[in-house]
């Protein structure tokens, strides 16, 4: 096993780099799209229901099928893989953003409005800071999905650690499978760990007590 790793070290490093790149780009694009949409749809219940069910429909497409659909549209390589992953990342982020925004205490919103804050001031200064832990938990969930599903991207020639796993499957090379799987798992844990640090740093304090945890339980999809 060790021998195998040493032999394929440079390839492994390359694939880890690719995998990391695909997942993080997809996650970032997904966040940039889904968070603003999640905020905007809180303006209308009807709209929010439509958008969320649309995203749920996207989520039900089997991942392999979605990747396959990307090929005739965008060809092979990293681009179609990233697009497919972005589509997958939308729902958890969007839904948590929406739920987070709506879970902010109605009385606080009422008070903010009553004091003369505009809609955007309420969003920026009140709703987003208070919904932040919930929004972050959506992003964290998405991040884990991204890392896991980026494995399949290898199927349409995007590279990444999936290459090792598929190679192992084709050649009955157990070591290759392990060499592909373990880094994926570790990477998922790393993403989650990093994002939880970001979350802790950015979540506004509600008490001078440093060990104080946010009162809101993260909502998982």
């Amino acid at each position: 096993m060790i021998d195998y790793l040493i032999q394929n070290r440079s390839l492994l490093e390359l694939k880890i780099g690719e995998h990391f790149l695909i997942s993080i780009v997809a996650l970032m694009i997904g966040t940039v799209i889904a968070v603003p949409i999640g905020i905007l749809i809180t303006k209308s219940t009807k709209l929010s229901q439509m958008v969320i069910s649309f995203c749920s429909v996207l989520q039900t497409i089997p991942s392999l099928a979605l990747l396959a659909i990307m090929v005739p549209l965008f060809g092979v390589g990293k681009l179609p893989a990233i697009i497919a992953l972005v589509i997958y990342s939308l729902l958890p982020i969007l839904r948590n953003t929406y739920l987070g925004m709506n879970s902010v205490d109605k009385n606080i919103i009422d008070a903010s409005k009553g004091m003369g804050m505009t809609w955007s001031q309420i969003v920026v200064h009140v709703k987003v800071p208070l919904a932040f832990p919930v929004i972050m938990s959506g992003i964290r969930l998405s991040a884990i999905y991204m890392v896991a599903w980026a494995t399949l991207a290898s199927y349409i020639g995007a590279g990444g650690l999936g290459d090792f796993i598929f190679m192992g499957l084709n050649n009955f090379n157990f070591y290759a499978i392990i060499a592909g799987t373990v880094p994926v798992t570790l990477m998922a844990l790393l993403f989650d760990g990093l994002l939880s640090i970001v979350e802790r740093k950015l979540t506004p304090k509600t008490s001078a007590d440093i060990s104080h945890k946010s009162e809101k339980e993260p909502v998982n999809v």
Partner: protein, 427 residues
């Protein structure tokens, strides 16, 4: 609204009240501050929240909206800062139709306190207090000064500025909630059951605090509550609402004296009404109607006879037109020496009450100053009646105990004389 704001800005942040009053008079602002004109609010599905409201509040008044839940009192209040938009009718503030001003600016110029407090949990107390000033882009120095001054007004230490709301007790949080509504020197403050969720002792202190701040700073406060005691205690005038309509709009005293209908009567409760009698009912309701008196032209002998017949020691002396002249006392009369003398020559001075004196004052004279009885006269000094200790007791009994019945009859006992054997037998 812009004018109103620039006007409020003209006065330095915490000018004294009289300065403001002077300025108001100078600028002709001293007129009805808030006016509801035929205001109705109908929610979708034809649910009528309030119907045809017509009200006028003056500057500096403490107005309470009282009613059961669903009576439309909160809806009315929220229409003032356009948190609710009337379906029909107009609301004027300083003579200006508020539907024509920018809602955001309007709300920044009106303080807003809610029952659930609604402090921003992620902001420190300082940021919470200075929320509106910050929206109005005040300088940091000015906000700092205002926050410190305000905190002093409600007896909270300055160190609290750096605390988060979760570190304060409920009562302290609501103090900050009230301060937040005062911070931008708003003229009008809306309060929606602000003390409903607090314990009675904290509520009491906060009520006093708000009333005191209102007097001190000359704010117009619109206060919604379902607690009748709170409304009676705080308000200058109160609006009693039922099913979306104003049932009565008057001072607490006037409402206690004359509840408009059974609903108001029920809201007030019999106890409160009975107790309030002392405050607004006059001595006419409790006086003895035809006190024993004597004409000043009658003789001393006659006076003594009347006293003996009625078993009293003093008589009121009146003239032919029943004008009260004084009193005669049996100990000052001597039948032998002055039997045929005029009573008028032996009349002594007497204290009297006018017939519009309030019962509680009459009780004070009798109970605290020790008068045994006091005659009651009308404006022309014509004798109308007499208030005695007995009539006070009757009145108090009627108010507090009239429907009291002991649970059992075992409080009263009987003595049954035993038939003793005849004297002779005992011997």
């Amino acid at each position: 609204m812009k004018d109103l704001r620039s006007f409020t800005h003209k006065i330095c942040a915490y000018g004294t009240n009289w300065e403001r009053v002077l300025l108001k008079q100078a600028t002709g602002m001293e007129k009805s501050m808030i006016e509801f004109k035929n205001v109705s609010k109908v929610y979708p599905g034809n649910k009528v929240a309030v119907e045809n409201i017509n009200l006028k509040f003056e500057t500096g008044e403490f107005i309470c909206f009282v009613g059961t839940s669903g009576s439309g009192k909160t809806t009315c209040m929220r229409m003032i800062n356009r948190m609710n938009i009337p379906s029909t009718g107009t609301i004027l503030i300083d003579g200006r139709d508020i539907s024509k001003v920018n809602g955001i600016n309007l709300r920044r110029s009106i303080g807003y306190v809610i029952q659930q407090i609604g402090l921003m949990p992620h902001m420190k107390i300082y940021e919470n207090i200075t929320m509106v000033p910050k929206l109005l882009k005040w300088s940091e120095d000015k906000m700092n000064k205002v926050a410190r001054e305000l905190l002093k007004k409600v007896d909270l230490p300055e160190s609290y500025l750096d605390c988060y709301p979760s570190e304060l007790s409920g009562g302290q949080q609501q103090r900050v909630g009230v301060l937040r509504a005062l911070a931008a020197d708003q003229e009008i403050i809306l309060m929606d059951e602000p003390f409903g969720a607090l314990d009675p002792i904290t509520r009491d202190t906060l009520q006093q605090l708000v009333k005191q701040l209102q007097r001190e700073m000359g704010k117009t406060i619109i206060f919604v509550t379902h607690d009748m005691d709170e409304a009676l205690k705080l308000s200058d005038r109160m609006v009693v609402m039922d099913k979306g309509q104003v049932v009565q709009f008057d001072t607490p005293d006037a409402i206690l004296a004359k509840p408009a209908n059974d609903f108001v009567r029920d809201m007030l409760g019999e106890d409160r009404l009975n107790r309030a009698q002392f405050d607004y009912e006059t001595v006419e309701k409790m006086m003895v109607l035809e006190p024993i008196c004597i004409l000043e032209n009658q003789s001393v002998a006659e006076a003594i006879q009347i006293m003996r017949k009625n078993r009293v020691d003093t008589l009121l002396v009146v003239d032919e037109e029943k004008h009260l002249k004084g009193q005669v006392d049996i100990f000052a009369l001597d039948q032998k020496r002055m039997g045929s003398d005029r009573v008028g020559n032996h009349t002594k001075k007497i204290s009297y009450l006018y017939n519009d004196t309030k019962i509680r004052d009459a009780i004070y004279y009798i109970n605290d100053l020790g008068f045994r009885n006091i005659p009651v006269v009308n404006k022309n000094l014509v004798l109308a009646g007499l208030v005695t200790r007995a009539s006070v007791v009757d009145k108090v009994y009627e108010s507090y105990w009239s429907d009291y019945q002991p649970e059992t009859d075992d409080a009263i006992h009987q003595v049954r004389p035993e038939k003793m054997p005849a004297m002779e037998d005992a011997l």
